[in-house]
Amino acid sequence: MSKDKIIKVLVCKPGLDGHDRGAKVLARALRDAGMEVIYTGIHQTPDDIVNTVIQEDPDAVMLSILSGSHNALCPIIMQKLKDQGIDDVLVAVGGIIPDEDKPFLEEQGLKGFYGPGTNLSTIVEFVKNNLKR
């Protein structure tokens, strides 16, 4: 869009999952990479997340799910974003995502799938290289 555009990222934890250490570490890493990171905290419903995306207009949304509910939550979030006509935002999910679930999530338009132990710079590079605008 312009010369001094700073990458803006939304980091959030959908559903009833309280394991937010990873999300906080990730938020901090993206901050240290020079991005503006909005952290919304835990227990976000799909509607909360979509509303935040609408208002904050981020370039990327990073969902952190370790509860096993990714197959239930992610499609709802993607559908609601689509309903709002939001198609230029990178949506990634990470946490505990079993390999066999990845194709289904990819079909929904999600990317990433980084789990515990991932080098933080890998995720930073991933965000920088996968932005849609």
């Binding site: 803006k8 240290d32 503006e36 909005i38």
Partner: protein, 330 residues
């Protein structure tokens, strides 16, 4: 680029248009010029409330509860939360939304987080522009949360009609209450976390400070960019509990009282004047600085001057004087 589709949707109250326009004015000052130019005539309907206080004084939770009170009155509320940018990496962690309650819906509340991007004074460069966008979007009240301030981040009083300063029991003695800076720009003091011990002592300290101020009534005129508020309003003080909502009815009354005071006393016209002056100065500063930088990096004569300065035959003040001459020759 053409922004007329977006600005047209904004005027109709489209949420996504508002969000996208905010992104644009944050990132591109030239685009901001075009956008503000096309929406300015629609601004001026919203009441702007500044909320400031030290880190941890409970600003976000307070704003959440205050917003609930306004929603219950059928108002549409805009919230701008400013957090600091890292001076080292340019990154920022914006965490104010965590405290904002989920009963807010898209129809009645618009929350936007902003990083200050290195600007001193407690706000971001684009905050004034974002206020205008939310005003045109249709917010009745715009609450601006500054970065957690120290003692002198006072820019908010140049933008807001009413400034609420949060203080908490147990932080600082009565000397803190008589220092210059933030205590002087306050319209309403709120002692937050009133359930903590020391809340009444805090109220007493502030009241004492205000008594002292009353006996030294003065009226000051603006000099440079230091536009002081004309001192006819004696700040109000109340204590609240943002977690339970206790005493917020009283707070709303005080905010209304200040609003009425601004209208009836005519101070509002002064405020409008100062706000526009201040904003213009900021824009001029930005433009002139940019021009001066361009000149310094492009003009060969200046290189010569700099060489002289290195050899100590020209001092930086004289150097700046020479550059000023070149500046106005153009």
């Amino acid at each position: 680029m053409d922004y007329s589709d977006l600005t047209k949707s904004l005027i109709k109250g489209n949420t996504r248009a508002a969000a996208r326009l905010i992104t644009i004015v944050e990132n591109d000052i030239e685009a901001a010029e075009v956008i503000i130019n096309s929406i300015y005539q629609h601004t001026g309907k919203a009441y702007i409330l500044g909320v400031t206080g030290s880190p941890g004084s409970g600003k976000s939770t307070f704003i959440s509860t205050l917003t609930k009170s306004y929603i219950d009155l059928g108002k549409k509320v805009g919230i701008i939360c400013v957090d600091p940018t890292s001076p080292l990496t340019g990154g920022a962690l914006l965490g104010d939304r965590i405290r904002m309650k989920q009963y807010f819906s898209l129809d009645n509340v618009f929350i936007r987080s902003m990083a200050n991007r290195g600007q001193l004074g407690g706000l971001a460069r684009a905050t004034e522009d974002v206020i205008k966008i939310l005003d045109v979007y249709g917010c009745d009240i715009i609450i601006v949360e500054t970065v957690g301030v120290g003692q002198s981040e006072v820019d908010i009083f140049k933008s807001a009609q009413s400034v609420v300063v949060l203080v908490v029991p147990g932080l600082g003695d009565e000397i803190q209450a008589i220092k210059a800076g933030i205590m002087e720009i306050t319209d309403i003091f709120v002692v937050n976390k009133m359930d903590l011990p020391g809340a009444d002592k805090k109220v007493a300290d502030i009241m004492q400070m205000l008594e002292f101020k009353k006996s030294y009534k003065y009226e000051s005129e603006g000099v440079g960019d230091k536009f002081m508020k004309i001192d006819k309003w004696t700040p109000e003080i109340t204590k609240v509990n943002s977690k339970t909502g206790e005493n917020f009815d009283n707070l709303l009354k005080l905010i209304n009282k200040h609003k009425t005071f601004l209208q009836d006393s005519g101070v509002i016209s002064n405020y409008m004047k100062n706000r526009i002056k201040n904003e213009t100065i900021q824009i001029l500063k930005h433009k002139l600085t940019k021009k001066a930088e361009e000149l310094i990096h492009s003009n060969n004569k200046i290189e010569e001057f700099i060489e002289k300065a290195i050899k100590k035959s020209l001092d930086p003040y004289s150097l700046a004087g020479e550059i000023l001459k070149l500046f106005f020759e153009k």
